[in-house]
Symmetry: C2
Subunit: 275 residues, 2 copies
Amino acid sequence: MPPSLKPQAQLHHHMINPRHISSRHNHQFKRWVSLLDSQGVKAHQQCLVSGAKLRMDLLHHSSASIHEILLPPSYEMPESLPLHTTGYLLSQELFHELDVFGTKEPLVICTIPSMPLCDLTQPPIGLEILCPIGDPGNLGALLRSCRVFGVSRVILLREAVHPFHPKVIRASSGAVFVQALSLGCSVAELHRPEVLQWICALDMNGDDVATTSWPPNVRLLIGEEGIGIPSLDFPQRLSIPQIHTSIPLNATVASSIALYAYRQQHPHSSHSAIS
Amino acid sequence: MPPSLKPQAQLHHHMINPRHISSRHNHQFKRWVSLLDSQGVKAHQQCLVSGAKLRMDLLHHSSASIHEILLPPSYEMPESLPLHTTGYLLSQELFHELDVFGTKEPLVICTIPSMPLCDLTQPPIGLEILCPIGDPGNLGALLRSCRVFGVSRVILLREAVHPFHPKVIRASSGAVFVQALSLGCSVAELHRPEVLQWICALDMNGDDVATTSWPPNVRLLIGEEGIGIPSLDFPQRLSIPQIHTSIPLNATVASSIALYAYRQQHPHSSHSAIS
């Protein structure tokens, strides 16, 4: 057999004969179920991806990270998959349990990208966000904004929901796979002077995001839903002018407007141009 | 008894002796359960409000619309309530079923405000939004933005989720009770020339929201999640400049940025000043 045919043949073998799984006591199935919440994602460093569009995007951009595909019963063979991918054919009941968004599409299990620890005593480079967002839908939408506005890195505080929680992945439309992410401390540790010195807080009161002179390198702390910003002596506070102030903006919306306002002043960042 | 004491006495009577309900076959209970989705809200023109903060806000601002309060078992008497409010003490099981956000706080049943039909052949007055948003969290967050940026009215298209769905109410932080709302047609009916002439669409391509000259009176059509804007010959299209374009902004985020951009040019609208 010519070497050029080998990959195709191997792929065939995998996908024509996926392993059947119909018992919920199966070890693999238990792992997949655990990926429906943050703890399991963290423990296994894997995530579960739903939906045809996201699956196609992953095949294009990060096929190396895909390592299992879970098929619903009697599913037609999907598009070709990376060689190292193992296929599983699940019973209706088990598939339904994992297909939490009801896509009826094959589910993909991926290795999550590594997220470096961020040294917050170092100055920001480009537009950075310190993010304590706890709601998966909010974090997913925020990651889309970060990508659109060329955030150099999203620093996830310990209060944030895991970015590879299935609901975050879905709400992010896949932005979570292309946005640079790193891990920070908890909100309670931001008071340390060597950390605090670099933080600009987005708050209800502060300099107008439109008229302030944004530094090109900025580390913007955004408020936690329902809690806001901690009471610390930040070097700078920014705010969005509001006509009615009794009900605040949603945290993701406020943050996204701040990113937009930054880009009004710095439309072509060298960092975003690189990525 | 002096007349001045009568209201107090009536209130006392109602709240000291709330009616006990422990059967899921109870007609009232069935109605309350139906208020957990849009159909029930529409059928009864009532909504279910969760959470201490929203309940207090309602007591302050719209007490006339409150007409029942549902208490968890062995709950302490809450703050005083309007006279016409009837109290019910629910069994743990029934209460839990209605307390979908797990607040453990009394639930309030309100009459929903009337939403007039909007004549879309008439020109816009102030900043108007044509809204097809289907996700409750997205619509709730958008209503907060509309309130913050003084939208004169939100015109809900038929594709939109019901604004008094419990999840919208919660995500709106109560903005749904103070924002002017009206009802429009479906997206498929916007092509009529007498309607289309007034619509400015927020799209992926169009004039920059920052640099375009916004008319003070504008009817902004925003995209439906995952679908976007219909292919129609709109008199104007606006868009938000993006650094990375492969993943679009969340619909609520994009709309909120457009509202912010409008307010950069029209900071003091006479309409918002009135409300």
